[in-house]
């Protein structure tokens, strides 16, 4: 979906049907990996937007009797028992509290209820919970936590990119186009910023975030910090491109027509670097997702009990728990899919934004 929107920017006055047509055309043009990536990202954003509905349980509720419970397999019930429910599972019971080993109780069937209680699916109140992806050390449903964690992890990239790229593009294009002293100052400043050891800088800044801040505030703060570190690299590349665009005859023609600096920048320089920037943006979203994970891993990002894919993965830090509860790595698979999808999408956008591929 975002593919189509990016590329159809040039179309003037695209009405509803035109937009649908454009999306359909982009979908046809995309390769299968790209389609898969777009589907993945769309799915993740649906998870993020619809967390309360999609998640079967409260992500912070602790089923104290069921810590580190392995994933439970759903079973399709026989047609004769469809009156009880379509899908059932065997509830788990802790067989060995010391080793936290669980055994399925095959004597009982617990049915999943769909569209029940405001959830897509869940179990009846009072019935044993169904952990499709297992539970964490505190007995919280991992699936629900992943679904809620998508909110943080999928938006950290977008907000971060929105900040760092608007900064990077405007500053870089300005610097490259104007040149001279302003260019020199801006570039030296960006070099200072790039020479800061960014991870320590992040740590230091994260450490001064006041303790009383809410999760949302912390989240926004982290994104802002990461953006203000990462704009410099992009600005430098954009500056180089802008400096080369500046000498192109079509820019000279615009100047000869009396175009103001701002017009030359916004009409000629920025559009010429936008293709690269969009690619770089999609390719840098993974950096934000991973950056948030890294901070959360160190306990400086999103704080428990709130969930993000990064702090969920933080539980997979030691080999022992990894070996015994391998399902706690599942958030890593989500991070991997999201990062990979953004990379595929970025590659595809680069090809589509190549002027030789522009179509009416």
């Amino acid at each position: 979906m975002s593919t189509a929107r990016q590329v159809s920017v040039g179309a003037t006055g695209a009405g509803g049907t035109q937009l649908v047509q454009a999306i359909a055309r982009e979908w046809r043009l995309a390769s299968n990996p790209v389609r898969f990536s777009v589907a993945c990202l769309a799915f993740f954003y649906v998870l993020a937007a619809g967390s309360p509905v999609v998640a079967p349980y409260d992500p912070t509720y602790q089923y104290r009797a069921m810590p580190d419970c392995p994933p439970m397999a759903p079973h399709l019930s026989a047609p004769s028992r469809w009156s009880d429910g379509l899908v059932y599972f065997y509830p788990m019971r802790m067989a060995d509290p010391v080793a936290r080993r669980f055994a399925a109780d095959r004597s009982r069937r617990v049915y999943l209820h769909f569209f029940h209680n405001g959830h897509l699916f869940t179990t009846a109140a009072g019935a044993p919970p169904c952990f499709l992806l297992g539970s964490d050390g505190l007995g919280r449903d991992l699936l629900s936590r992943i679904v809620y964690g998508a909110r943080v992890s999928m938006s950290v990239g977008l907000i971060g990119v929105a900040i760092s790229f608007s900064l990077g593009i405007v500053v870089g294009a300005f610097s490259g186009y104007v040149g001279g002293l302003a260019d020199n100052l801006i570039m030296r400043w960006s070099e200072i910023e790039m020479s800061l050891p960014s991870f320590y800088f992040l740590l230091a800044l994260a450490a001064i975030i006041p303790a009383g801040m809410s999760t949302v505030e912390t989240f926004l703060m982290i994104v802002a910090i990461m953006s203000f570190i990462s704009w410099a690299g992009l600005a430098r590349v954009i500056r180089g491109m802008a400096a080369s665009v500046r000498t192109r005859p079509y820019v000279e023609a615009a100047r000869a027509l009396g175009a103001s600096r701002w017009r030359v920048l916004s009409r000629h320089v920025i559009p010429s670097v936008l293709g690269y920037a969009v690619v770089a943006a999609t390719l840098s979203i993974p950096g934000f997702i991973l950056g948030e994970s890294a901070l959360s891993l160190l306990g400086l990002g999103i704080q428990e009990p709130a969930a993000s894919w990064g702090n969920l993965l933080a539980q997979a830090q030691d080999v022992q728990s990894l070996a015994r509860y391998p399902w706690i790595l599942i958030p890593g698979a989500f991070i991997f899919l999201a990062v990979m999808s953004f990379n595929f999408l970025g590659d595809h956008l680069r090809d589509r934004l190549d002027p030789a591929n522009l179509r009416r």
């Binding site: 005859p249 079509y250 009396g258 009409r267 002027p355 030789a356």
Partner: protein, 344 residues
């Protein structure tokens, strides 16, 4: 303002500000140096490239001045200087009696309407990301000459005038041939009703068959709209065809300037002669004996002292290596910068 009334107003303006045969464009001692690094990593000596060196030039309203020189002779830089696309290192440019450097930013912007460039490379002179509609309309938007439907009509009219079908409006430059792109570039320049066009090798990148079409178009436009041209080329034949007067440049200096016919019949400067005898002809009997020049064009970073041409000149005398010959005007405005063959 319709296109027609627009050109009427322009015509009136033209008549007013070019009274009494004053030149439309005048360059006085115009020089441009480009810093070119130093000659070594640790050297403090700065190298400068003198692209244009003390050029004096006048272009009269309605005429075409041909400007000929090899690549690197500074002809394109001179054209850019006249349009104030680059700042001169020294000297002044006057347009219709007003000095460009003395104008305020808004006055300069208004004056830019009057003078427009057409570039050599039809591929890089049109923004590949803009539709033809926006490319041609850019000047109209900048100077708020028309908007909405009127703007659209105007763009269509301009395209029609240069021989491009209106169905081109929503297409991108890469969908057109070199000749068509050059026509679109001309339409963009004409959109603001200019008086003066700097044509920077407008046909050198085109096929010979297309060259003639574009040159004819330029001549038609000139006759119709009373345009003044600076026609930059490295091909003397093209220039002979279109120019009233021709200036020859060598290493940033104008070495000879004369009426077109005079220059071709009676070239004075040895460099001009070498250029003229280098024109290939079909008729072997009419071919003049070729004046071959030894060596290469010297580096503009280190131009030779005295007359810049003397190391390659078969007629060079002692004085040529010491004193730079000034461009002196003779009979009928035929100006030559040469110690050995002064102006007639």
């Amino acid at each position: 303002m319709s296109p027609a009334s627009g050109s009427n107003v322009n015509a009136a303006l033209r008549a007013k500000s070019t009274a009494a045969g004053a030149p439309l464009v005048r360059a006085v001692n115009l020089s441009k140096e480009f810093p070119s690094g130093s000659d070594g990593l640790l050297s403090r000596r700065r190298l400068v490239l003198r692209a244009v060196s003390s050029v004096n030039l006048e272009i009269e309203s309605g005429e075409t001045l041909g400007l000929v020189g090899e690549s690197g002779s500074g002809k394109s830089t001179l054209g850019r200087l006249l349009l104030k696309l680059v700042e001169p290192t020294a000297g002044k440019v006057f347009f219709a009696g007003r000095e460009l450097a003395a104008l305020s930013r808004s006055d300069l912007r208004a004056l830019r309407r009057e003078m427009q460039p057409v570039f050599q490379d039809p591929y890089s002179s049109l923004n590949p990301r803009m539709k033809i509609r926006s490319i041609v309309a850019e000047g109209i938007e900048i100077h708020r000459l028309a908007r909405g439907r009127e703007k659209e009509e105007r763009v269509v009219e301009l395209l029609r005038r240069v021989g491009i079908e209106p169905d081109a409006l929503d297409r991108y430059p890469h969908e057109f041939s070199g000749g068509q792109r050059q026509r679109i570039g001309i339409a963009r320049a004409l959109a603001v009703n200019p008086r003066f066009l700097v044509l920077d090798e407008p046909v050198s990148a085109l096929d010979v068959s297309i060259q003639a079409q574009v040159v004819n178009l330029l001549q038609d436009l000139q006759a119709e709209m009373g345009l003044t041209y600076l026609f930059i080329a490295h091909d003397l034949r093209v220039v002979e065809h279109i120019s009233r007067r021709v200036a020859i440049m060598y290493l940033g200096r104008v070495v000879e300037l004369a009426d077109s016919a005079e220059l071709f019949d009676n070239p004075r400067h040895p460099y001009t002669r070498a250029l003229l005898t280098a024109i290939p002809t079909v008729d072997a009997a009419a071919r003049p004996e070729r004046l071959k020049l030894p060596g290469e064009v010297p580096s503009p970073l280190e131009p030779p002292p005295g007359c810049a041409f003397h190391p390659r000149c078969p007629y060079a005398k002692d004085i040529c290596g010491r004193v730079e010959p000034p461009l002196e005007s003779g009979k009928g405005g035929h100006a030559v910068a040469c110690h050995v063959f002064p102006a007639p």
